[in-house]
Symmetry: C2
Subunit: 247 residues, 2 copies
DNA sequence: ACATTAGATTGACTTAAATCAAGGCCCAAT
DNA sequence: ATTGGGCCTTGATTTAAGTCAATCTAATGT
């Protein structure tokens, strides 16, 4: 029910090679390396709810989200769930579980029907160990990830619920667009709430707050932002990163 | 007033080579590399309050805390300060600002009189680019840092103030020791508070709470823990990492 | 078309933490 | 010894967010 299809990569036009070379990490990588990944990888469609791997599973594959959304999460001792991240298309995951531990450090579950490519970690590990250039790329990739985490910690510390939500909305908009901006929430509001470290009731009220304060229009998962500048100043004033904060 | 002394490394018995080889990152590193760092590095004593670098400064040096404590922080647009981390002896910092940006991503200030070694980032960058083995070590180092950040995000999300404080105390105790355990808070309570993402008043009350609930004894910065097991179960039940969580 | 159900919202209330204000303690400089 | 200033604590109050419970809505399957 979860696995809708699976195919060898080479049988497919827009195979994982194409997919991979769109990721910064693999751009300009050695073609032989990409081909090897290609030949040993596969693409699968999964529907919402499918568990890709569990924390402490043996880490043999790393993945790339081609479409849809995937959540990474951890379980607390008393049974709660903590969202580590929710990943959009174009994200690689499972790749930092390369080393000694060799177990995934969190669980991964599809939260919006997704197309996901999988490749053996061993090939990645080998490339890192033998190709200096790629190894450097990987380092940069990790440093970038570190920066994201720092930002996340900051957000949770100094932004209140409406600001965190505003920040989330802004990050859904790639570049500064002309007003008004219409966007769709990419996954369940409940999940956005826990992604932002709040309860779903709080999320709901934060959204209502943005409606009142900024003239945001909401209908289901469709949101219209009247004024980007207003939202930016409302959201980013408490933050150490000026908008647009992804660089 | 801040710079109390500065010396070339080789003029010193317990020079930076010795200091470096105690860090996991540099253990078993190429002796020529360590010597080069050694010859181009220096050790300085700084007193509390000394600013080592500011966010957006050109990143030319990386540092190792030999003794004392250093805080990393960022400034928000409206002037507040966010603590990124507070670093104990044995920590390397400034080293992730290796790449393209070439600017420090945060500011660094001494918060308890410290002895700090400085080395040119260029030497590190060169070693990473040419020595596969070291590059791999650096990758592991970064992955480990990533895990720490994940843990931090989790703590801020699911632990309340007394639990975060309890967790902080536990992390000051390297191994599981016999009761009762006596320890000293390593830096100002105000700073511990912001390190833990709370106001100093909240910190004070959290400490009082641990006194009441766990029979903790506090006198100034000296703390006596009656029962480690009690503190562990009080603190770690809401967390996804079992004690001792550093591995 | 209808029942079922997961997801979302709303209201009432509780609780944790922030804020505001006052005062205490200890160390350092005079 | 006295003064002054960090640093810390404590009390009173406000505020943000969590919790609990009741609906409401929209999508799904029969």
């Amino acid at each position: 029910m979860n696995t809708l299809s699976s195919k060898k990569c080479q049988s497919h036009d827009e195979g994982p090679t194409a997919a991979l070379s769109e990721l910064v990490l693999f751009r300009d990588a050695d073609p032989a390396f990409l081909t090897k990944l290609n030949n040993n990888g596969n693409i699968q469609d999964f529907s919402k709810g499918h568990v890709i791997f569990l924390q402490d599973d043996l880490a043999e594959w790393f993945y790339v989200v081609l479409s849809g959304w995937v959540k990474l999460f951890r379980q607390t001792l008393d049974g709660d769930e903590v969202i580590v991240d929710v990943l959009p298309a174009g994200t690689i995951f499972g790749e930092t579980d390369l080393f000694d531990n060799k177990q995934y450090s969190c669980s991964a579950e599809v939260v919006q029907d997704a197309k996901i490519a999988a490749y053996p970690i061993s090939i990645l590990r080998n490339e890192i160990a033998t190709n200096q250039t790629f190894s450097l790329k990987m380092l940069k990739h990790l440093v970038q990830g570190q920066r994201e985490k720092d930002k996340e910690i900051e957000h949770r510390t100094i932004q209140n619920a409406p600001q965190r939500l505003g920040c989330f909305l802004l990050r859904l908009i790639p570049a500064k667009k002309a007003n008004p901006v219409v966007l769709h929430l990419p996954y369940d509001k409940t999940l956005i709430a826990s992604r932002l470290g709040m309860q779903s009731e709080t999320f709901s009220r934060a959204l209502a707050r943005l409606k009142d304060d900024l003239g945001l229009k909401v209908s289901g998962s469709t949101i219209e932002i009247k004024s980007m500048d207003e939202l930016i100043s409302y959201t980013c004033s408490a933050c150490s990163n000026a908008y647009p904060c992804e660089d």
